[in-house]
């Protein structure tokens, strides 16, 4: 337990953990100190000077101050308010006065503080910086005339490792820009859009939200979870009239998981793309013919009901728990039918329910056989999570066949044969823990030193977490015998959830080439096999047309994850909710609805089409 420190704020006594930030601590007990440049979880910058507080006649900025005992803080008095008012007034004098048409109106911190401090209009001369620049990269619109030089975008970009933005120049020539004023595309920006999340004013925003015609308060917000990859980042969507306008990250400003990659943030346009499957289709004479649900369901039900044929149901893991339950009921009824996950799956979470892994508390992360990379869009949310944890003083051990982007940040990086390194690591760890006198040493002495250091860090840590792909799960279990937990990161985002509903895969590794012996394959979701599966009959149930879908015999249009309500269980075992933000296109149905319809059809009776809770038939 961290040591608690007593101090007084505005006359009331509080206890906070030692070393915490004064601004964050006050916020946690409901005392808001105005700030424009602070980012929770990051070191304070002290650029805006709005968070000045008085500590026994000494004026300090709350964002750069650590809690010490016997502080007597006053956060608000005449003098402080006058200082804040003049500062905000000065910022307003340098800011375009177009609140009326600005897209950020309602969500703008500058507007909020001007209102709180009672500033109707700036009392200083109207000025502007001499370098207006408006850039519309594919996704991000950067209007420099609104920038107040708070530096939040620079600091978040640095924290995430991309580092394309910086404040160049000094004095009045200061401006936030990329190296050599390159465009965002040239500068190496990955378009994650975190700068959009943190900008307090309208300087950096989505290119699609350039005009403010739909105001912030007219939009409906819905908290949901991204199912694009296993990182399962939390997001909140802003929609208007059933159409998504904007997506922001929602893990919480203080969380190390506050991130959304470009797919999650800007990818909602694909819900209306040309490749969307709009109606059930059956292949006749080599071309797809549109049909109605009745006919398509009849065909599918008939194919699945053949008792003699071997059936395989392949899921990409993007089903919600509710979809999985519905599928489970359908599958239990079918003869000669196996369920598998696309890609490799693992036996099951290795932790009992009471002891789920806690990523916030963990102080050591060991990744083996994984190469999370924002640049290559491979588990980007996970890579940023590790970077943020390291910034908050967690340690990283990397075991991989070659150098990865995170190797530079690791305290110990073991490259080479992954299983042998893992084996040596766990042997040495267990040897030290059990106190034996002999252990097999690694032939390479530098590796031996690295392993020794890694083991030492592991033993010193409080809550280590080991992240592995399914193939290394068994080997990794050897490391966590005494403490720590193994977390498996699979291709399938809701694998934990689907398995928890009772739907267990028949094989742990689905090999598409081996489907020659299956007569019917029913692929649910975006199953990532582009070659034609060797099967007699292929049913694809997905929202978009894929290479696999081109070769299908029946296409069933399903709703995408923005269009459903449901829950999933993420890779850390937490239950996450999905909320519908956009209405699905007319003939698309949720997965669970389709399974129900097929099951009904199979019973022979033609039931009236059931409406689910969203009122979608």
């Amino acid at each position: 337990m961290p040591e608690l420190v007593d101090l007084r704020i505005n006359g009331k006594d509080f206890h906070f953990p030692k070393g915490s930030n004064l601004l964050d601590a006050a916020e946690s007990v409901g005392i808001h100190i105005p700030n424009l440049c602070h980012l929770k979880g990051l070191k304070g910058a002290g650029a805006c000077r709005l968070c000045l507080v008085e500590n026994r006649c000494k004026t300090i900025t709350a964002c750069t101050t650590e809690i010490k005992k016997n502080m007597d803080i006053i956060t608000d008095n005449e003098r402080l308010r006058s200082l804040r008012k003049t500062t905000v007034d000065l910022i307003l004098s340098m800011h375009p006065a177009d609140c009326m048409t600005c897209a950020k109106a309602g969500d703008c911190l500058l507007q909020k503080y001007a209102c709180d401090l009672g500033i109707k209009a700036s009392s200083f001369t109207r000025k502007r910086f001499a370098h207006p620049r408006v850039e519309y990269s594919p996704f991000i619109r950067y209007s420099q005339q609104y920038c107040i030089l708070c530096g939040r975008c620079v600091r978040i970009c640095k924290e995430q490792g991309t580092r394309v933005l910086n404040i160049m120049g000094r004095g009045l020539e200061s401006r936030v820009t990329t190296a050599d004023d390159q465009s965002f595309e040239e500068s190496g920006c990955l378009f994650c859009g975190s700068c959009i999340d943190v900008c307090p004013v309208n300087a950096i925003a989505e290119a699609s939200m350039a005009d403010g015609t739909i105001r912030q308060w007219e939009r409906t917000k819905a908290k949901t979870t991204c199912l694009s990859c296993t990182s399962a980042c939390a997001m909140v969507t802003s929609s208007f009239n059933g159409e998504i306008l904007k997506i922001e990250s929602d893990a919480g400003a203080n969380s190390c998981e506050q991130y959304l990659c470009k797919k999650g943030r800007f990818g909602f346009g694909e819900l209306k793309s040309d490749t969307r499957i709009l109606a059930p289709m059956v292949k006749q004479n080599g071309i797809f013919v549109k049909t109605d649900w009745d006919h398509a369901l009849a065909v599918v039900a008939q194919q699945l009901s053949e008792t003699k044929s071997r059936k395989k149901i392949v899921s990409c893991g993007r089903l919600t728990n509710e979809d999985a339950r519905s599928a489970g009921r359908l599958i239990s009824d079918l003869d000669n039918c196996d369920f598998v996950f696309a890609g490799e799956s693992f036996r099951g979470p290795s932790w009992p329910d009471e002891e789920k892994p806690d990523i916030e508390q963990s102080d050591l992360i060991l990744i083996a056989g994984l190469d999370p990379s924002q640049k290559e869009n491979r588990l980007p949310g996970f890579e940023v999570l590790i970077r943020k944890k390291i910034n908050r003083n967690a340690r990283l051990i990397v075991i991989h066949s070659m150098e990865i982007s995170l190797s530079g940040l690791a305290s110990v990086a073991l490259h080479g044969d992954i299983s042998s390194n893992l084996k040596h690591f766990s042997n040495r760890l267990n040897f030290i823990e059990s106190g034996e006198t002999k252990h097999s040493e690694h032939t390479d002495s530098s590796k031996e030193n690295q392993i020794a250091l890694g083991v030492k860090l592991f033993l010193e840590s409080d809550k280590p977490l080991v992240f592995v792909p399914p193939s290394l799960m068994e080997a990794a279990k050897g490391i966590v015998r005494k403490k720590g937990l193994v977390v498996c990161l699979t291709y399938n985002v809701n694998e934990n959830g689907i398995k928890s509903t009772g739907l267990k895969p028949a094989e742990l590794k689905f090999i598409p080439e081996a489907t020659g012996c299956d007569d019917v394959v029913y692929a649910i979701g975006d199953v990532p096999y582009s070659r034609a599966l060797k099967t007699d009959y292929l049913i694809v149930q997905n929202s978009h047309m894929t290479e696999l879908a081109e070769t299908a015999d029946v296409l069933l249009p399903s709703a995408a994850f923005h269009e459903v309500n449901g829950t999933i269980t993420d890779y850390l075992g937490r239950t996450r909710t999905l909320t519908m933000s956009q209405k699905p296109s007319k003939l698309s149905r949720e997965h669970k609805e389709i399974f129900r319809n097929i099951a009904n059809r199979r019973m022979g009776a033609i039931h009236p089409i059931q409406m689910d809770s969203c009122g979608i038939p």
Binding site: S82, T87, L90, I91, S123, F124
Partner: protein
């Protein structure tokens, strides 16, 4: 001191103008701080000192008013109390000191008078008609065609005094230096059409 109309012409005005103008000094100090020393990383200092520069420019350009003084005072106090670093705080303290020590000079500038003859929009060069002997040295020295008059010739008795057109005069002081009779002196006369607009882009 002789007084003619609403202007005050000082005897030995040339020597008097060798002193420094407090307001101009403060303006130079602020302008130099903006151009070189300022880091621009904290908001009150960057924006505040720029605001002060504009206000001081107003004072030295005959566009000054009490509002400008109030703004300077308010901003300087804010920068002194809330700037990030000592540089900004010291700059603000210097300005506050200058305001306190020499507030009368600031008020003079608001009234349109610069006692030290340093703020060019606030004074003019005038040729004392009694002393002028129309030798035309000043006309030849002036590069801005601001002096008009007819040179005295040997054939005519008497001469008409030369005149300086204040709109064209930039107060470079060339005529002042070459006048053998010492007839050109700075004067506090107000010129209503000498208003200069401040460019507000940084």
């Amino acid at each position: 001191m002789t007084q003619t109309e609403n202007s005050v012409i000082l005897e030995g005005g040339w020597k008097k103008s060798q002193g420094y103008c407090v307001v101009r000094n403060t303006l130079n100090f602020v302008a130099e701080f903006l151009d070189s020393d300022m880091c621009g990383r904290c908001m009150p200092c960057t924006l505040g000192i720029y605001e002060m520069k504009i206000r001081l420019q107003n004072l030295t350009n005959r566009a000054g008013s009490c509002e400008d003084l109030d703004a300077i005072r308010k901003v300087a106090v804010t920068v002194r109390d809330s700037a990030l670093c000592v540089k900004g705080k010291k700059a603000a303290r210097n300005i506050i000191d200058s305001l306190e020590r020499s507030i009368s000079h600031y008020y003079e500038h608001i009234d349109g008078k610069c006692s030290f003859f340093k703020c060019s929009p606030l004074y003019i060069y005038k040729i004392v008609p009694d002393k002028c002997n129309a030798c035309s040295e000043c006309l030849l020295a002036c590069e801005h065609n601001a002096v008009v008059g007819e040179k005295s010739s040997r054939f005519f008795i008497g001469s008409k005094a030369f005149e300086i057109i204040s709109e064209r005069c930039v107060r470079c002081g060339a005529c002042l230096k070459v006048c053998p009779a010492g007839a050109i002196l700075p004067s506090h006369a107000m010129m209503d059409n000498m208003f200069k607009k401040t460019d507000f882009t940084a």
